[in-house]
């Protein structure tokens, strides 16, 4: 049963991926990328990674789609047909993909109990997390307590990325306002 769902999800992922490449209507592409994220979230649920699935559904299918739609209002809704045939990018993608697939041959099998990831600190976390932190969800215990430094680093990354995007997006506005030719077309809200 799980196998059938796996195959169905992966086939749909492939179909959506090919459709995203083929389509020129960017609105449809944005919608399909949201669907792609939702299918990925379903795949993560099947892999028992509920927290990751949650994040994928919220960020990938939710916020990214809205932000891409926001971009779409600033640009045209149809992709231009490229003038050159993309041979070099195609070769690069095929070679990189081939190397990555070759790399997976050395990975431990899915769910292998002897995989390095399951032998290092994971058994200790699983055995001690509830007893040491009192949090029934081990994922939260690892994220917030055992790996607190890493999570602090991640939040700092989000902080830095947010500030960076903010500077980039509002920077052009400052330049435009300094330009004496164009009047200030964006008055501040009254609030």
């Amino acid at each position: 049963m799980i196998l059938a769902i796996d195959i169905a999800l992966l086939v749909m992922l492939a179909v959506v991926g090919i459709a995203i490449i083929r389509l020129r209507n960017l609105f449809a592409v944005v919608m399909l990328s949201g669907i792609y994220s939702l299918l990925m979230a379903g795949t993560f649920v099947l892999l028992d990674a509920v927290d990751v699935a949650f994040t994928e559904a919220a960020v990938g299918a939710g916020i990214s789609t809205v932000l891409l739609l926001g971009v779409l209002t600033l640009t045209k809704s149809r992709e231009k047909i490229p003038v050159t045939t993309p041979i070099l990018p195609l070769v690069t993608v095929i070679v990189t993909g081939g190397l990555l697939i070759y790399g997976t041959w050395d990975l431990p099998r899915f769910g292998d109990p002897n995989a390095p990831a399951h032998r290092h600190v994971a058994p200790e976390y699983l055995a001690e997390a509830t007893h040491e932190t009192g949090a029934p969800n081990v994922v939260t215990a690892v994220l917030a307590s055992y790996r607190g430094y890493d999570t602090l680093g991640e939040v700092t990354v989000i902080f830095t990325a947010g500030i960076g995007v903010l500077l980039l997006l509002s920077g052009s506005g400052v330049l435009r306002r300094r330009d004496p030719e164009t009047p200030d077309e964006k008055p501040k809200s009254t609030a």
């Binding site: 949650f54 932190t133 009192g134 949090a135 307590s145 607190g148 964006k186």
Partner: protein, 138 residues
């Protein structure tokens, strides 16, 4: 979107639920799937839906850009502040055991506050990016 009745009514019905669900995900992260990252994104999505339906001007009135920008930093400071507090109380940086008399209670408080910091930063970043993006004119 301002003149479409059905999206307006549906948004009015769903936005409180979305925000409430975000708070549930935020503070229930110890017990089930979820936590600061997911809760922050859902909370931000509630505000973004409001902005999409009722217009950017109204969203700016509810969440002024100066306030959301400040909250980007406040979240990180809350997280880092927990580490400072645990150091002052005699533990290592981000060692939650010392936050309360009982290590379990200390861990509980630590995880809760730290996740709150994560949620604040993520939600503020999402809302701010959306407002700056949507505020650009062609």
């Amino acid at each position: 979107m301002k003149h479409h009745l059905i999206p307006r009514v549906v948004a009015k019905l769903t936005i409180p639920g979305i925000l409430l669900f975000a708070l549930y995900v935020q503070f229930h992260g110890d017990y089930g799937p979820g936590g600061g990252f997911q809760a922050g994104v859902i909370f931000g999505a509630g505000f973004i839906l409001y902005g999409l339906i009722f217009g950017l001007q109204n969203l700016r009135r509810v969440a002024p850009p100066a306030v959301t920008t400040a909250f980007i930093a406040i979240g990180v400071l809350v997280f880092a502040g927990v580490g400072i507090v645990s150091q002052i109380l005699g533990g290592n940086y981000l060692d939650y055991d010392v936050l309360a008399a009982d290590p379990h209670a200390g861990q509980h408080i630590g995880i809760l506050v730290v996740e709150l910091g994560v949620g604040i930063t993520v939600a503020a970043v999402m809302i701010t990016i959306f407002v700056t993006f949507a505020g650009r004119e062609r």
